[in-house]
């Protein structure tokens, strides 16, 4: 029995309500300080969550969310039986997996190579420059990408220089994923490397010394000291990244795609956006499709959180 419980049992005159009042009085200031934040979260996060019921209703603007008629799982059935279901699901997974396969190792390799650079000033400058694309807004970044890959843009100039055919990248469906992924690497390679560089800096110098005494050259030190040293960081970030597999930045998709590439570019989230604000808006259906995506996300996050917990226990992190 805990101390608290003993105290309560020993003094039965303290009823629940007096205890609550005392607790409130004791911390009234903290409640007051938190109150605006609490109100904010209720109004802007928790009230909209109740709007999820729309997924099971036919929304009629005149009747509002609660007055609209229930339709059960109709929206979900419609979604699962429509060609858009497979299309958006496959696109979401393809773009996401490609982003992981190319985008996950890139900053690790960049950090490792940067760490091998002995010129400290140059290293600092390269680092600073590599962060730059991260600060360019999505609108401008996508605008730049479109400009660079257009018919007389620099990428096509380079292709033409080596005797290749100019490619209409933005209107060629099969090029959508590579452009999306590579521009993402360009924008985030430096920024994402920060955490790995910090992990590398945390590897004990003794280990390098010991390895050097044992005759390990730089490459072997990299392989047997640096890499194992940052492995816990890599593993955890990888698991978290996989947990986010179904949540892609839809803002970038919406900026980048056009009717010609829709077949390969439309992900679940951009589809949700299009049905909601397109020519014939369907709020109920849009909410249902969005909810489908959210539920999978939560499932994946809970699963990966569980796995991370396990990994955390077994590794040195």
């Amino acid at each position: 029995m805990s101390k608290k419980q003993i105290k309560i049992l020993a003094n039965p005159s303290h009823s629940l309500s007096t205890r609550i009042i005392r607790a409130l009085k004791q911390n009234y200031e903290l409640y007051l300080i938190f109150l605006p934040v609490l109100v904010y979260y209720i109004v802007f996060y928790y009230v909209p969550m109740t709007g999820i019921v729309l997924a099971f209703k036919n929304y009629a603007p005149a009747k509002g969310i609660w007055g609209s008629a229930w339709v059960g799982l109709k929206h979900f059935e419609n979604f699962f039986s429509s060609p858009n279901f497979t299309r958006t699901l496959v696109n979401t997974l393809r773009i996401s997996i490609a982003s992981i396969v190319v985008g996950f190792p890139a900053p690790i390799i960049f950090a490792l190579l940067l760490n091998e650079l002995r010129l400290r000033r140059t290293k600092k400058i390269i680092q600073t420059v590599s962060y730059m694309p991260h600060f360019i807004s999505l609108v401008v970044a996508v605008g730049l990408v479109m400009d660079f890959v257009q018919r007389d843009g620099i990428i096509n100039d380079i292709i033409a220089f080596f005797g290749g055919e100019r490619i209409a990248f933005m209107t060629e469906p099969n090029w959508f994923t590579p452009i999306y992924v590579l521009s993402g690497v360009w924008q985030e390679i430096g920024w994402s490397s920060i955490i790995y560089l910090a992990a590398i800096a945390g590897v004990s110098a003794d280990l390098y010394e010991a390895a050097a005494i044992d005759g390990a050259g730089r490459f072997r030190q990299l392989l047997h000291v640096t890499l194992p040293g940052i492995m816990p960081t890599i593993v955890i970030l990888f698991i978290m990244r996989v947990g986010n597999i179904m949540s892609i930045g839809y803002e970038k998709i919406i900026l980048m795609y056009n009717d010609l590439v829709l077949d390969k570019a439309d992900i679940i989230a951009s589809y949700v956006y299009r049905i909601a604000f397109g020519a014939a808006p369907d709020y109920g259906y849009s909410t249902a499709v969005g909810l489908f995506n959210t539920v999978i996300n939560i499932f994946l996050l809970v699963a990966t959180n569980y796995i991370t917990g396990k990994v955390n226990d077994t590794t040195l992190w």
């Binding site: 911390n27 903290l30 409640y31 300080i33 938190f34 605006p36 934040v37 609490l38 904010y40 979260y41 109004v43 802007f44 996060y45 009230v47 909209p48 969550m49 109740t50 709007g51 999820i52 729309l54 969310i65 960049f110 091998e116 650079l117 390269i126 600073t128 420059v129 590599s130 962060y131 730059m132 694309p133 600060f135 360019i136 807004s137 999505l138 609108v139 401008v140 996508v142 605008g143 730049l144 400009d147 660079f148 620099i154 100039d157 390679i189 920060i194 955490i195 910090a198 050259g217 730089r218 900026l255 956006y273 909601a276 709020y283 849009s286 909410t287 969005g290 959210t294 996300n297 939560i298």
Partner: protein
């Protein structure tokens, strides 16, 4: 660090490594160089040009004149500044209050409030419920719709909370003993100690608002309230440069040519402020990434 005699292989690796890293740095840097140089170039020469552009072709400021004379751009700029300044002040205040409360170790509802915050990182109503919520609150097409929905980010609260938890309790306890209120402790003891991290979240909020466009696109209908990014979207993504071109600037071909340099001038004007600031604030950003990563 001592330098040791290296093998030939290691020397070759060093050279290749340096070249590779410089190439990556160049790829990161070149788009902005190109944009700046193109914005200063003569429109007709730019059209004929192919390959790398490392210095302006001619020196023309006409594009900047048209951009700065354009009411859309100046309106967008003013709106963005308004959203950034007011939004960041509000965000900072709310984030600090939230972080202070959930970092009090003796506060009984601490965990409950923590869960309220963290849940919002995983679950949200989604696009339509959020939109209808803004509509029901009467915020559609108001400037507040650009500030309130993104006022507090749970992620930033967690960063600040983590830092506050690491501050020794003895500091505030002695102040509390002397009768200082929580608000006083927050402003006179905790806040000054949190300044470096506070700088980080201020920058996160400010950059986030400066670069945001999606909420503006769905919540605003009135062009006079548009932030800069939404006008940029029209110019860069939807290719609507007509409003920018001086109509008495003669022929169609010339108009097409000018619209290109105007595009680049707009990018420079909207992006260069942040690009000039971030190198100086780099160490704070790095700190934020680190604290965010070890949040648990």
């Amino acid at each position: 660090m001592k330098t040791y005699k290296q093998s030939l292989g290691a020397n070759i690796f060093d050279v290749f490594n340096l070249i590779l890293l410089l190439a990556i740095a160049f790829i990161c840097l070149y788009p902005m160089i190109y944009v700046i140089m193109a914005s200063l170039s003569s429109p007709s020469l730019l059209m004929q040009h192919s390959g790398l552009l490392l210095k302006p072709l001619g020196l023309h400021f006409d594009a900047y004149k048209s951009v700065l004379a354009n009411p859309d751009i100046t309106t967008g700029y003013a709106n963005t500044l308004f959203y950034v300044v007011i939004g960041t002040i509000l965000s900072d205040a709310l984030t600090m209050m939230a972080a202070y409360v959930v970092s009090r170790k003796k506060f009984p509802l601490r965990n409950f409030f923590n869960i309220i915050l963290i849940l919002t990182m995983f679950i949200n109503g989604g696009l339509i419920p959020s939109y209808l919520n803004i509509q029901n609150l009467g915020l559609l097409n108001t400037r507040l719709s650009q500030i309130l929905p993104v006022a507090v980010s749970a992620y930033n609260v967690i960063i600040l909370r983590t830092y506050m938890t690491s501050i020794p309790v003895s500091l505030e306890e002695s102040a509390r003993m002397d009768g200082a209120s929580h608000l006083r402790v927050l402003f006179c003891i905790i806040f000054p100690l949190c300044l470096p991290v506070f700088a980080v979240i201020t920058l996160y909020y400010a950059v986030g608002t400066w670069n945001s466009w999606f909420n503006a696109m769905i919540y605003l209908t009135d062009r006079s309230k548009y932030p800069l990014q939404l006008f940029l979207r029209e110019i860069l993504i939807l290719n609507e440069t007509d409003s920018l071109i001086n109509s008495n600037a003669a022929s169609g071909i010339e108009q097409v040519q000018i619209s290109e340099t105007i595009k680049y001038a707009t990018i420079v004007i909207s992006t260069v402020p942040i690009l000039c600031i971030y190198p100086f604030l780099q160490k704070y950003f790095v700190k934020g990434v680190m604290i965010g990563a070890v949040k648990e």
